[in-house]
Symmetry: C2
Subunit: 892 residues, 2 copies
């Protein structure tokens, strides 16, 4: 016979913490506390298997369940000395759901189950407080009706309000026991009229009703949606916990409280929490009374006494219990407890949520204390949370109201004057005032304004739109694709949620949450503690995967190196041309109709490009630098405004009309799939030749200057055919030979390719013949594998997430089962041809922990990410190295 | 010891026709003719293995080659009774290259090798014609110097011209033997001064020089490019044929000629060809003298006598030989022959090139004659050539000059007045005058003009641009992406190659070659002979692959059915809305900002759509019809001109300014990767619901009306995730249930998906769980796998082809090693989940023979193509079924 019900009590439990799958998180922890001999009110857990059975069998229970529950109730009676429905000493229970993972949206709790017109008298007698008993009964009916019978609690509130009004009361506390008794009658009438049935008075009926409600709530819409969004299989099911009630509201020797074994905000190793004397859990939540601190040390001057002072014996016991629990679970615990007439009862323990800062400190402290290993410490910090430590954040205590929410495109918060053009941003910033640059969408000509701004806000674009990518690269906070925003570029104002912000008015954005606020919101500045450096050091010792940065400006490169980058994995040469004087020459090159026209522009660009590389190579000396040759989707670089047209026409020595015609000719319907990447290099070989020359000349100069060898890794973008790579490789090698001869320096170098098209991934075996390395450009690979343009995806991807069609934006976290398979195919086929083939990833995914784990499992050599993501990647890489491998191929 | 040299002669040969790989095409056929006992001048072939050895060993010959050539020369002396360098009876030879496949760009021929200052006298004596001998010698020096010594023949021409001038001669024929002797001296001086060495006089030296030149020419740039373009491996190598000279210019009993065993233009089973008395092959080519016909029947009145009349004995022998050869090779032969003093010599035979019409007739005739099997007949006709039979073509005899060349986007030729707008096209066509619609590029609003036009010409766009796809669907000739064209839309004129064509002037386009002509060029109307129907019938009996058509209009559907389509494989519902009144409602739907707005537009569209389907289902009764739900890349449908904006604004009941803002909002950077396909269906479910309703209501109506069952196959486009399909499938099933209830007709149906994104191909196993069929949308799959937009690709793909980076436009012929692998993966994974999963292809590739072969090999159930491609697909499918499988996976 299957065991559907497991008991727990102070004398031990049938379950234990490892039985989370069967008992749910709550039930497993209650059992574990019992096994530790801690004072836990006894009870039993109906397992998740019952839930599974229930749904597999048309919402019926296993035949043996009834008798097992009855047996468990009998044991519970024995353990408590109380009887279910016993008028003189009634057993009251709480009923709670409890899934493997915490699941909002499901039925939460019914307290005081077992009360009825008769047992309420017993409770009155036992507690010596009739009003307490009737108030408990009233609350039980409300709660039960609400969650089990689906009668909204607002109906009950209404009756309570009427009663108070009729009696001329101001607060609930004025309601007498008799008033409450009358109210209970009204409540029962209400239930009958709403449901057509009387309120169940038999405790067993109440219990089965509550059990049924828990199981039914597993399949309610909110729970289904939550599971879909969080990839929780519906097969997991929920358990039901039935536990004897204890009362923190049985007078001044009773209390209830919550505690963290360490400070969840700072991580300090000090008991943290609060309690209320003569109260139940919901009173703490209601916030009517001010809770008191737990420890004497945390008592505020003039504040109420702490638990340590008010209940020294219970406190001492409690402290011992918390130490026991933290030691046992080897993690900071979030604990709920009740003291009933001086006796301590533990109601819940679980790992406590904490801030990034606290997580870091707790992990390092615990490792230093010997409580956990360094490996465990590494695993205890969510890599993504490090972002909070690297950027200013909104002060959690600051008053604020979001007027719009977009995508959290680049982390950190920033305030400044609203400006609507890049030029304005530069001008105002030059005057020493912080600005937020607001655009419908950004383009390369906004770069100088983005540099000048403290933060960037766009109405359009996804997580990997131009604004997002550039902002992350620069470490500027950015909110992108804030669709609720109406931007009037002519009037220079934005409207959102009825609020208008005009040019010059203050605005605040939070790039970590995507929120936009009117005015200036208080910030908290980042503080890189010693714990950070310590944990990073531990992480670095464990990881095999190298971490490089995507960087092209000296500032980015320095930032990246400062954050521990082990080289540059992606230097986007076209990004080196955003400066106003340079973009002119780039545009001139792009619109040139003749070889001579292009060569004239290239002659201007060569010295600039060479100087850039000299600076970059000097900063990154001793580390590898991967340089991607020009890869501009043309539209990003074409002149648009009349002014730009005139400027470029003049520089190119053609009429504006001629230039306009040329720009029209170059227009592309789908520039992302257009004449870009190596296609430019093939059709206009002189462009890549100039770039190769700039790279090798710079490397030679730095080598001469410093005596140190620099190894540029020249990367060809958008290769679909081995022949493309072959043709360009040959030209680059020719340039290398020429530069070697001219400078007398034989610069070592590699030539490799981006794998960013499905075809390249599929043909990796032959492409590898000609490549020294592959770098997976997972942004483009995601675009092409999904057929989704990152710049146009915000419109429907957010809807897809809302509908639960996708869990994660595939531009943020690599689509492992789709795009990932192409990466695996390419890695496998490439390495089969060339076992030593160097493999890396340089898409935005290089900074995403789940994607990094995938990269580690796929055997890549390195990831490359935005400079500010480098610490995240280092930690995530270490975690990946420490985790057991997971067979992702199972479903293929 | 390897055998590097194989001899052939009238008493038999060491080679045979199957040894093409070793001997090259020419050598193998010469050997074969010898084995047949035909009169072939003896000689020997140096094998392709020598070429391979030569390049593998730093351009040196195998050690044994010299002795083997000497031995072969000795045998040749014995066979001819002449001696190499023998002054009294010199052996003269021709040296020719001969690869496995005919290869322009390689060294062709050196004639009369063996002549020098001494042997020339022997030739004079033997021929009794001193002038002939010296002229042969002069020609030999020119030819040898040109191809072996790389001294341009223009230098020799110059000396000849000077000599004629000095002597006051008008023509070469006036040069006397003495004049030629003097000229030969000058020639030798020229060679010495140009090369620094004397002209080689020793016949052996001449021979080795020529052999070396043949091998060297295998690696010259033209040959390399040609091989790259035609996928000929460089490992194949070339053979060298050395053959005793025979002379057709030894007087009036000598002659030379070429013949086809059947008429290569019409296919008639009549000997066809021409000859010249007292001439060498080059005289026929030079065109100075008018050749004479071979047969008496083909002698023109007043023309010179035929070979049949002039040389009856030789003719009789020749006819017997041609019959023998055709019977032996079982194909129409292209033959070169020489008669030396009444003796017939066969110099070459090979399968003759022929027109499509001839190919068809010859194949059917030969099968009927019992010469070949029906299967062989099917294999003898190039499916693509059928296009020539279905469309009017430029009269090959018509005088014309191309002013520009674009892509051959839709076959057939057409002439008409040049018009530059769709409205104009419609108006002029309405007046009964043919027009050619000229646009920079076309869009859906040009459809009525494209319908009205005889042909379409665009300056932009590739083989699968809007213009190309629509034109093919309509069967209108189209030249697209004619980059050399400058179109001035304001002045309504085009300029190309210095020629201007204004509105109203005549223009001719040839969609089969991509050429554009000024004025009206003479056409040949198509003539579907009985042979066509016979061959199609044979083909249909052999193929397993079904052939459907891509069609949505009744006209298309009727055309398709007429051409033998076995259903509709792709009905693009958005194409049903090109009509001016409809596109308004479609636009209204697309720009609607609210559900109500969309519903109002959808209410207008429902009856139109339903009526379309009623008509379509009626035409296609008894056959399957696959309907793709709406899949418009938005930009194709957004209103553009002010007029359109106003029109749509009025229909939608909003201000033009509001609409403009909305259109701006809907703008996409890369619409091909944007909010289209099932993404529209997901975000605006009411659109697909309307379409499903229209489909099922129409099917129910037709079923009621006709009593015949119609099975619509509802196809969801652009699926990347199984969940997308699931969600939409559920909605369609709901509509089906509702319509069944309302109409009382339970329409049978399938729901399937396009596989047109790499992700869908990779996830085919799970997607197949929810799909009744997969249809490979290889246009989009090519776009995404390659990362190339079909609308933007013309600019660089043509350059790629020129550079030999790609052999075929991947939008025309499926990229089997890249895109093809995804098709294979999807087919394999899909069928693993669901063995009976119906698989088809509905991209443009469905009409391409190579792609069709791939589809057959991959086990697809059907291909679907433009109506006019249906016959091509039927034939190609039959050929695929008859060919042995080829392991395309070998290189993975």
């Amino acid at each position: 016979m299957s065991k559907w019900v497991l008991n727990f009590g102070p004398d031990g439990a049938e379950g234990r913490s490892e039985m989370r799958e069967l008992l749910g998180g709550k039930g497993a922890n209650l059992a574990e506390m019992c096994n530790l001999g801690l004072p836990v009110p006894p009870g039993f857990t109906i397992t998740t298997e019952v839930c599974t059975y229930y749904y597999a069998n048309d919402r019926t229970y296993p035949a043996e369940l009834k008798i097992q529950v009855e047996t468990a109730l009998k044991l519970l009676s024995e353990r408590t000395g109380k009887g279910f429905g016993d008028v003189s000493d009634p057993l009251l229970v709480s009923v709670r759901s409890g899934a493997r993972a915490s699941m909002p949206g499901m039925m939460d709790t019914v307290l005081n189950l077992g009360l009825n017109d008769e047992t309420v008298a017993g409770l009155a007698k036992l507690s010596g407080n009739e009003r307490f008993a009737w108030d408990s009964y009233r609350r039980f009916i409300t709660m039960y009706s609400n969650v089990v019978l689906e009668v909204g609690h607002e109906h009950f509130e209404e009756l309570l309000d009427i009663a108070k009004e009729e009696n001329g009361y101001e607060s609930d506390a004025e309601m007498t026991a008799d008033d409450l008794r009358t109210l209970v009658d009204q409540y029962k009438d209400l239930v009958r009229s709403k449901t057509g049935n009387p309120f169940p008075l038999a405790p067993e009926a109440q219990l089965w009703g509550a059990i049924g409600a828990v199981f039914a709530s597993w399949m309610n819409q909110r729970a289904i949606t939550y599971r879909r969004l969080n990839s929780i299989p519906s097969e997991w099911g929920t358990a039901v916990n039935v536990q004897a009630m204890v009362f923190g509201n049985m007078g001044d020797s009773s209390a209830t409280g919550v505690a963290f074994t360490r400070n969840p905000s700072t991580g300090e190793n000090l008991l943290y929490g609060e309690f209320l004397i003569n109260a139940q859990g919901e009173d703490v939540v209601a916030g009517i009374r001010t809770p008191q601190p737990l420890t004497a040390a945390s008592r505020k001057s003039g504040g109420k006494p702490s638990m340590e002072e008010a209940m020294p014996a219970a406190f001492a016991e409690f402290v011992a219990v918390t130490k026991r629990l933290e030691g046992h679970y080897r993690d900071m615990q979030d604990i709920e407890f009740t003291i009933e007439r001086d006796k301590l009862f533990m109601l819940q323990t679980r790992s406590g949520k904490r801030t990034a800062k606290a997580a870091l400190k707790i992990a390092v402290d615990m490792a230093n204390e010997g409580l956990i290993t360094k490996e465990e410490a590494i695993g205890r910090v969510d890599p993504l949370s490090l972002d909070q430590l690297l950027h200013p954040t909104i002060d959690p205590k600051a008053p604020r109201q979001a007027i719009a929410t977009g995508l959290p495109a680049s982390p950190g918060a920033a305030s400044g004057e609203a400006v609507f053009t890049a030029d304005d941003a530069e001008r105002v910033a030059h005057e020493g005032r912080p600005v937020i640059l607001i655009r419908v969408e950004t383009s390369p000509e906004d770069i100088h304004g983005m540099h000048a701004a403290k933060g960037i806000l766009t109405a359009r674009g996804g997580m990997t739109s131009h604004a997002a990518v550039v902002a992350r690269g620069m470490g500027r906070p950015c909110v992108s694709g804030a669709g609720g925003l109406k931007i009037d570029m002519t009037a220079e104002k934005l409207t959102a949620g009825g609020t208008t912000i005009a040019r010059g008015e203050w605005i605040t954005i939070d790039g970590s949450t995507g929120q936009v606020f009117k005015g200036r919101v208080q910030m908290v500045e980042p503080e890189l503690s010693g714990d950070f450096a310590i944990l990073m050091e531990w992480a670095d010792a464990k990881r095999a995967l190298k971490v490089r940065a995507n960087a092209e400006t000296p500032l980015d490169a320095k930032t990246a190196r400062g954050f521990g980058a082990e080289g540059i994995g992606l230097c986007r040469t076209e990004h080196m041309f955003f400066d106003a004087t340079r973009i002119l020459a780039v545009r001139q090159m792009i619109v040139a109709e003749t070889l001579e026209g292009r060569q004239s522009a290239l002659a201007k660009l060569l010295p600039m490009q060479r100087a850039d590389f000299v600076e970059l190579f000097t900063i990154m000396r001793g580390l590898p630098v991967t340089i991607r040759l020009l890869d501009p989707p043309l539209h990003e670089f074409l002149p648009k405004s009349d002014e730009e047209m005139n400027e470029v026409a003049e520089a190119a020595g053609v009429t504006a009309a001629r230039l306009r015609a040329r720009v029209h000719e170059l227009h592309e319907f789908n520039p992302m799939l257009g004449h870009r990447g190596c296609r430019l290099g093939i059709t206009f070989p002189e462009i890549y030749e100039m770039q190769a020359r700039a790279i090798f000349e710079a490397a030679a100069a730095v080598a001469k200057e410093t005596g140190e060898t620099v190894t540029p890794e020249v990367m060809i973008p958008l290769v679909a055919l081995k022949r493309e790579l072959d043709m360009l490789k040959e030209k680059i090698e020719q340039v290398h030979a020429a530069v070697s001869k001219e400078t007398g320096v034989e610069v070592p170098y590699l030539i490799g390719t981006m794998i960013e098209l499905p075809r390249a991934a599929l043909r990796a075996a032959e492409i590898a013949e000609s490549a020294d390395f592959f770098s997976f450009g997972t942004n483009d690979l995601t675009q092409t594998t999904f057929g989704i343009s990152r710049d146009d995806s915000a419109r429907f991807l957010s809807e897809y997430q809302r509908l639960g069609l996708i869990e994660q934006d595939p531009f943020v976290s690599l689509d492992i089962s789709g795009v990932g398979e192409l990466v695996e195919i390419a890695a496998e086929r490439g390495r089969k041809t060339k076992p030593k083939l160097k493999l890396g990833i340089c898409g935005e995914h290089g900074g995403d922990p789940a994607s990094i784990r995938f990269c580690a499992e796929t055997g890549l050599d390195y990831v490359s990410c935005s400079p500010y993501r480098v610490p995240i990647a280092r930690l995530a890489a270490a975690q990946a190295a420490l985790l057991p491998g997971k067979d992702r191929r199972e479903d293929r």
